[in-house]
């Protein structure tokens, strides 16, 4: 009986409908699983741009342990990392290098702009060597304000990024 239903004309419709059913059954749980894996192992690239790096280092310290969220500053190359934390002021000399680093990272990648200087230029907005914010160079996901932001604020920013990733489509990158 199935053979009478599937004729050469409506085979592709049948396959399409089967695909729809499979998508609805598997895609959401699969996407949820993939995003869950991405959230709990965000590895930042080892690039320190300016003075906020001190508070980033303090966030990795035993008191404000950010490693419990999976954010370990991996010592390896940036090809294994998926998070760029832009810490502080971006100067005209550093901006091309930051763009290079961002381009060399594999997808999926996320950017946190940390500190007032990375968001709008901050205290140094009228200096000759400072870019007014990083979002003209690389696309930013989460902005963490502060000068420098307390480590708790940075951790809250990371949690916001986790919430954002949970809502992202995982299948695009798979």
């Amino acid at each position: 009986m199935l053979k009478d239903l599937i004729t050469p004309e409506n085979a592709n419709v049948f396959v399409g409908k089967l695909g729809d059913i499979l998508e609805k059954a598997i895609d959401k749980p699969l996407g949820y699983a993939i995003n869950w894996g991405r959230i709990w192992s965000l590895w930042p690239v080892h690039i320190e741009t300016a003075c906020c790096s001190v508070e980033f280092g303090a966030a990795s310290s035993p008191r404000y342990d950010v490693e419990r969220f999976g954010i370990i500053e991996a010592f390896g190359s940036l090809r294994q990392c998926d998070l760029v934390v832009v810490q502080g002021t971006i100067t005209r000399k550093m901006a091309p290098r930051l763009r290079l680093v961002y381009d060399q990272m594999p997808e999926p990648k996320y950017v946190i702009a940390m500190g007032a200087c990375a968001i709008t230029g901050g205290l140094y907005f009228d200096s000759y060597n400072v870019l007014p914010g990083i979002d003209g160079v690389i696309p930013v996901d989460v902005y963490v304000p502060g000068c420098p932001p307390r480590p708790e604020t940075l951790i809250q920013g990371c949690i916001l990024l986790q919430e954002k990733i949970k809502r992202m489509k995982a299948r695009k990158f798979v």
Binding site: V45, H46, I47, E48, T49, A50, C51, S53, V54, E55, G57, A58, S60, S61, P62, R63, F75, L78, G88, T89, T91, K93, M94, P96, R97, L100, V101, L123, Y124, D126, S127, Y128, N129, V130, C147, P148, R150
Partner: protein
Amino acid sequence: MTTEIMPGLALQKVDERIMTLNVGPQHPGSGHMRIVVQIDGDYIVACDPDPGYVHRGEEKMAEYRNYITNIPHLERPVIHDSCNVLYPYVLGAEELLGIEVPERAKYIRVIASELNRCIYIMYWLAIYGIFLGHSTMFMWPAGDREFLIDLMEKMSGARVTHAHFVPGGVRNDLPPNFEDVCLRQVNYFEKRIKEYAAVFYDNPILISRTQDTGVLSKQDAIRLGTTGSVLRASGVDYDLRVKEPYDVYDELDIHTNVMKEGDAYARSRIPWLDMMESCNIIRQALQKMPKSGSVRTKLKPNPKTKIPATVYKRVESGRGSLGCYIVSDGKTEPYRLKLSVPSFRNLIALPYLLKGEKLGNMPSVYWSLNYWPVEADR
């Protein structure tokens, strides 16, 4: 033959033996700067430091702000040692504006300066641990410095970048029970840092990596104009708190730590000994401090220096002697402000020391120069 792809990024024809490597800003062992090394096999032949990635134009910005609004951006070269970066500026501004500082404010400034010195040295030791691959040495100092950061937070309200020093004294008085809490924390802190000997300084791996590498002789240290712990590790007994005391350092009893070897091990050990000395200084200052009194000499809103004058003041910070040269022409803004930072002065030792070293020794020599890249760029 060199072709430029973009400014600063060039393709170069590779020589037969010598290879040019870029230990760039994105590197676990480089900090915020780039070092271009030319290596022959495993040995470094030449080295060219490339600072300037955090050059924010502090000196130019200082010419557009008056003496009080200059404080926030001038303390950001080293955000966790901010009191010591502001100290020579504040001393110079006081001399130009001709104001006297109350006694209690001087003691508070000394205590804040010593706390900041310890906070800076702990972070420097933590990063030294990362560079050498010793992650316990990152965790222990980074965790223990939080005790002192708590003290600074009680005193000034901020964890780092306190903006607590103003020309005329300190912004606010100490909170009510500060002396007891400070004494307790400092005693515990001193007990903790003595334990670092077991995990770091007596560690045979550290000793084999840093002993006899990057040796800086006494004549060279003087000739190159190095300062701070680099100088004291090469046998020169020079500490500005003893030689040219400012504020109340002439009433305190300070012992200078000097080591003769001049290698990277000595340079990594001297700041640790300095921290224990700082604990002594804090205890003495807490004892001798006047129990009450004003802490600030108020200024008029836009203070002007009346006479064209120049002043050069220097202070011993966590890295060495920091100087501030102010040229004023009688207006509310300084005409020229120059910060002479110890990291920039110690940078000249880097190409000098790295010649002939193995590439693997580069992080241990480079960071042992007590170098903070953000400060060197100002």
